[in-house]
């Protein structure tokens, strides 16, 4: 059995059960970034680690079919563009770049704090996609080296 074909049945079963919980936790950290400790960076890393869990447990081939890698690459570069767009809209609505121009809402509510949750979601997507893609590319590179030998 090759090293990039995934791990044993036990690891695969546990991963199948736990990966959605990990992703849910990451989404919770991102969405509640303006209320509780955490935010885009922390939640993004949680989601990236969930994908990485699948990559380590199920191997390269399965993960490539499960996640659409070209879509992830587009999300990764598109989120940077969206961040700039949110910042540029601040010029038109509030007069300065990256100004907080949406209605603030009341404190401690999920829908509050203007652009902060929006930017948190964008950063979360960005961090998750980019950290996962680095490991993905490194793994693909390693497999090619092994095939050459």
């Amino acid at each position: 059995m090759k090293s990039h074909d995934g791990m044993t049945l036990i690891v695969k079963t546990v991963t199948r059960l736990s990966v959605w919980l990990i992703i849910l936790y990451g989404l919770y950290i991102i969405l509640h970034g303006h209320l509780t400790p955490g935010g885009g960076f922390g939640g993004g890393v949680v989601i990236a680690l969930a994908f990485l869990n699948v990559l380590l447990a199920f191997g390269h081939k399965f993960t490539g079919e499960w996640l659409k890698i070209p879509l992830l690459e587009k999300l990764e570069s598109g989120s940077t563009l969206l961040f700039m767009l949110v910042g540029l809209l601040g010029i038109f609505y509030a007069g300065s770049f990256l100004a907080n121009y949406i209605i603030k809402g009341s404190l401690y509510h999920l829908f509050s704090a203007g652009t902060i949750p929006l930017l948190n979601i964008i950063i979360g997507v960005k961090v998750a996609m980019s950290l996962f893609l680095v490991v993905w590319v490194m793994a693909a590179f390693k497999i090619e080296e092994e095939e050459e030998q």
Binding site: I29, G33, H34, L35, T36, P37, G38, G39, F41, G42, V45, V46, A48, L49, L52, L56, E76, S77, T80, F83, M84, G87, F97, L98, N100, K104, G105, S106, L107, Y108, S112, A113, G114, T115, I116, L119, N120, I123, K126, V127, S130, L131, L133, V134, V135, V137, M138, A139, A140, F141, K142, E144, E148
Partner: protein
């Protein structure tokens, strides 16, 4: 016990961990010993009441350990033979470090007391942050509202780093494909 005692304790464990990582011959054990340093930083942030930083530090440490293990395991490394020149060089390094430490003692005395920063900006954020941004988490309101430019810079750094990694690793595989 006061916070300083706990911080010194955590710092001591981190120093022991890094020394162990340097001395171990097995690469997997050395990587795990490096992990002690990062997790120690995370615990230190918790003692300093900074849960945001502790979460991010903890997760990035796990990520870094996974990458290190994936990148460095099953590879051959040359073992450095102890030689006379290396002994001299490490002696010179220790002497220079001690000299720098002695000369920097007056600077330590002029630092502000632990837990009492000189900046008045942070007090402004504590007083007006929640009212001005509407975010209950003050850290979030600082990094995404008051200091959003910094976050934009971080996102750009991340973007450039990933672009570089993708480009470098793919150029090599593409040239291999063309050779076939």
């Amino acid at each position: 016990m006061p916070v300083e005692t706990w911080l010194t304790f955590v710092l001591g464990i981190m120093i022991i961990g890094s020394v162990v990582a340097l001395e171990l011959k097995d690469i997997l054990s050395a990587i795990i010993a490096i992990g002690i340093v990062g997790l120690g930083v995370s615990v230190a942030f918790l003692f300093l009441q900074a849960p945001d930083l502790a979460i991010v530090q903890f997760l990035f440490e796990i990520f870094a350990i996974i990458i290190l293990i994936k990148a460095f395991i099953k590879k051959d490394y040359h073992v450095e033979t102890p030689s006379r020149i290396n002994l001299y060089l490490s002696g010179i390094t220790v002497i220079i470090l001690v000299v720098i430490f002695i000369f920097s003692i007056p600077i330590f005395k002029s630092l502000p007391v632990f837990g009492e920063p000189l900046m008045t900006t942070s007090q402004y954020y504590l007083d007006n942050g929640a009212a001005e941004t509407g975010a209950a988490n003050l850290v979030s309101s600082i990094i995404l509202d008051y200091r959003a430019y910094d976050t934009l810079g971080e996102v750009t750094v991340l973007f450039t780093a990933i672009l570089g990694a993708l480009t470098v690793l793919r150029i090599k595989s593409r040239t291999k494909m063309e050779k076939r």
